[in-house]
């Protein structure tokens, strides 16, 4: 449906550009695209309306009309305004006197229980220990779910299904004080409707425990109703922040914008996966790009920086340059790439890439292909890895047996590696490739112009090393 806003705007303006001068009507046509992008991202209709009025005012006030690159200007204005709306990132505010009480509220299925566990883990990584409180006795097995997660993380869970949540929460805080725990995280019950009895219960909990933070946990896939839900919670229990969950999917997360606009509370964290460490601080610029459908390259780069050993990357670069890059190095690079997380998730962060792979049915670089390559290399002796040229028919048979592949697979790997080595020698003189374009050659295809690039494309699981980690 919606490819990329910048492409669309580019198209609109190049259509208009020929007549020489832009007028307000032209800007309006471009802004229609912006509006559709925001609505497609599930930003609330009214929020879009107010937002577009602000953008239009700036756009027709010279900035765009006078510009030589109107498409970029519009994007810039929209991006700026989005950033202003999304606000500054914000973390949990610790209470002057521990424990700091954090109350999580939200609709059913928004991910409160998982988020409670993630929060406990994120805090413990910084030092403080938390107490998780299972204040949802209604959903079958919700308490058991939190207990299981607590056990996995080695975080204590306070639960008693016979007690009413408000009293339970009060007791939990006493317990946390006795045990010297720095944070108390309350996992409250969610409901389908923002129902009266639930709201009263939340008010009662709030009245009794006086939480320092009341965080709304909201699903990034929520549609227009996000505003009403947030308004209702804010009115009843007074929110202090927002955690947006399920951002690891392809939801563009317009709900964040809507909630932020109607409540004014800051966005604190983003949930980006089912694993318990998948809780990230909020970065306004990334979320803005995402809402506009422009990918999330920054997150990708950050992840690369976190997982890739700089030392190793430099060493690889040197080896590539001197042509001494062997299968041992290749294996190491491969393993580092896999450490960055599921490949499809990485690809999804590159603008247009995830979609391209899915829709064009390109031979996607798949996890299992990487695993197979890894298995083949692991079945070689270190000497063989350093000197692949000595691998003859008999060694190939052994390697194939050892890795559960065929000699054809082994051949393919060896051939591709040889081509890759040649390619590296040719490239070592050229300037350093642009940051991530070369990360996944089979997919980006930017090596096609180079000798060996075309055949590389056919075997998409070969990944040239030493070209990442910037």
């Amino acid at each position: 449906m919606f490819e990329s806003l910048s492409d669309k705007l580019q198209e609109v303006f190049s259509r208009l550009g020929r007549k020489g001068r832009l007028d307000e009507r032209d800007v309006d046509e471009a802004l229609k695209e912006v509006r559709q992008a925001l609505l497609g991202a599930d930003v609330n209709f009214k929020v879009v309306k107010a937002f577009m009025a602000r953008v239009r005012e700036r756009a027709v006030g010279h900035e765009v009309l006078q510009s030589l690159t109107p498409a970029q200007q519009v994007i810039k204005i929209v991006h700026d305004e989005l950033l202003a709306l999304l606000g500054e990132p914000s973390r949990l505010t610790p209470a002057p006197q521990p424990p700091t009480v954090v109350m999580l509220v939200g609709l059913q299925g928004s991910g409160k229980t998982t988020t409670a566990a993630k929060l406990a883990l994120a805090l413990r990584k910084q030092g403080p220990r938390s107490l998780l409180v299972a204040a949802d006795p209604y959903r079958p097995a919700a308490v058991a779910q939190l207990q299981t997660l607590g056990k996995q993380l080695d975080v204590p869970v306070y639960a008693d299904e016979r007690r009413k949540p408000p009293e339970l929460a009060q007791d939990a805080i006493k317990y946390a004080r006795q045990q010297n725990l720095a944070y108390v995280i309350l996992d409250t019950a969610g409901r389908l409707v923002i129902a009266e009895d639930l709201m009263r219960e939340l008010e009662e909990i709030k009245r009794r425990v006086q939480p320092h933070e009341v965080l709304l946990v909201a699903d990034a896939m929520t549609g227009q109703d996000a505003v009403r839900v947030a308004e209702e919670f804010h009115k009843r229990v007074g929110l202090t922040g927002l955690i947006l969950t399920k951002l690891d999917g392809d939801a563009r997360g317009g709900a964040a914008l809507s909630i932020r606009e109607v409540t004014g509370v800051p966005i604190k964290y983003l949930g980006v996966g089912e694993k318990l460490d998948a809780l990230e601080p909020f970065h306004p610029d990334r979320l803005a790009s995402r809402i506009l459908g422009m990918g999330d390259v920054l997150s990708l780069i950050e992840r690369a920086q976190q997982t890739i050993d700089q030392q190793h990357a430099l060493e690889m670069q040197r080896k590539v340059k001197t042509g001494s890059f062997d299968l041992n190095d290749y294996l190491k690079s491969l393993q580092q790439l896999r450490n960055m997380g599921p490949l499809e998730q990485l690809l999804d962060m590159i603008p247009g890439m995830g979609k391209l792979l899915r829709e064009q049915r390109l031979p996607a670089i798949q996890e299992k292909d990487l695993k197979r390559v890894e298995a083949i290399i692991l079945s070689m002796t270190p000497y063989e890895r350093a000197h692949p040229e000595i691998i003859g028919a008999s060694r190939k048979r052994r390697i194939a047996r050892g890795s559960g592949t065929t000699t054809a697979d082994v051949n393919q790997l060896l051939n591709t590696f040889k081509q890759m080595q040649q390619l590296m020698r040719q490239m070592s003189g050229a300037k350093t490739p642009r940051h991530f374009k070369g990360l996944l050659p089979g997919a980006t295809g930017d090596l096609r112009g180079l000798p060996g690039g075309a055949s590389l494309k056919k075997r998409p699981y070969m990944v040239p090393p030493g070209r990442r980690g910037r």
Binding site: L107, L149, L192, Q224, A226, R228, V229, G254
Partner: protein, 314 residues
């Protein structure tokens, strides 16, 4: 029925918040003396705020303008009736929402899929009770071996509904649970196996592959009557379209179950789904009780959307 009561905002638990935005549309139309730009703008705003989405909203408005051009509607009141007709039409065009989902005299495997947190486990219990009441012998398979306590949750539901549950340990292979459940169904003479699956975002390649594998396990067991139902949360926005596309590509979809319908969230995105992707809606779910499930009827659904009293089935 409880569901319709809730849908129509008659259930007291939803009274407080039932005044839906969409209810306003009727007033707007009825009070409009003439059909003018203001009315069109208001209509667009209301449809978009109901999550109908830009393309389907534009299509509906195009049809309404056409009706006005042809002189079929002169007043706001008349136009409102046409809007309702067209919205019903969108929900039935190109789909068969009445085709029986279960094959009689055969073992039916019903695979229930969806993203995290949409209410799959609860829905399975409701569906199980529903089909049991229609005379089927139903067995539940705890195929969500990933989420902490999902198996316990299904067991609790199974107990409440009086339905047998086949379950393995947490972390077990979903395929093997399904394998055992089908064997158990054959041994006990059950004709419907309802399979719970772990919630998964449709963008996760590996998890979607795992789902395909579950389907292959069913096929290999010689089960021919396989039905795949996608559970969609009524509060979901335009992302639901991507969900339907990806799940359909992975395991095929026979229909949708829209859950968590209540006084405010009315699942307007299903208009976009049916219009753009031609996947029929089959069931609606509201509350947490076992009978909070209803078969989908376009006319009732559109009425509920506008907060109207039930007209009854013609």
């Amino acid at each position: 029925m409880a569901v319709l009561k809730r849908l129509f905002g008659l259930d007291r638990s939803t009274q407080k918040t039932r005044e839906s935005l969409v209810h306003r549309i009727r007033n707007v139309f009825q009070q409009a003396a003439v059909i003018d730009d203001d009315l069109w703008e208001e209509a667009e705003a209301i449809l978009l705020q109901a999550d109908v989405g830009v393309p389907t909203t534009e299509e509906l408005l195009r049809r309404l303008r056409e009706a006005v051009r042809l002189g079929e509607a002169r007043t706001g009141e008349e136009l409102f009736e046409i809007l309702k007709e067209e919205m019903e039409a969108v929900l039935v065009e190109g789909v068969d929402f009445e085709r029986p989902l279960l094959r009689s005299g055969a073992l039916n495997a019903v695979l229930v899929v969806g993203v995290n947190g949409v209410g799959k486990t609860t829905t399975i219990a409701k569906l199980g009770a529903y089909w049991r009441d229609q005379g089927h012998r139903v067995l539940l398979a705890a195929g969500d071996t990933f989420r902490a306590a999902a198996i316990d949750q299904l067991k609790v539901w199974g107990e409440r509904a009086g339905l047998p549950v086949v379950a393995h340990q947490p972390g077990a292979d979903a395929g093997s649970v399904v394998y055992d459940a089908l064997a158990a169904a054959r041994a006990r003479g059950a004709d419907v196996v309802l399979i719970d699956t772990a919630g998964r975002l449709h963008t996760k390649y590996n998890l979607m592959e795992e789902l395909k594998k579950v389907r292959r396990v069913i096929e290999k067991q010689g089960v021919e009557a396989i039905t795949t139902l996608l559970v969609v949360d009524a509060t979901t926005g335009q992302n639901a379209i991507n969900q339907v596309k990806q799940f359909r590509e992975a395991v095929g979809l026979d229909g949708l179950i829209v859950t968590k319908l209540d006084g405010t969230a009315k699942g307007g995105v299903v208009f976009a789904i049916v219009h753009e992707l031609k996947v029929p809606v089959r069931f609606l779910g509201t509350g947490e009780k076992l009978d909070d499930l209803a078969e989908f009827w376009p006319m009732d659904f559109v009425d509920a959307l506008f907060g109207e009293e039930k007209r009854g089935r013609g």
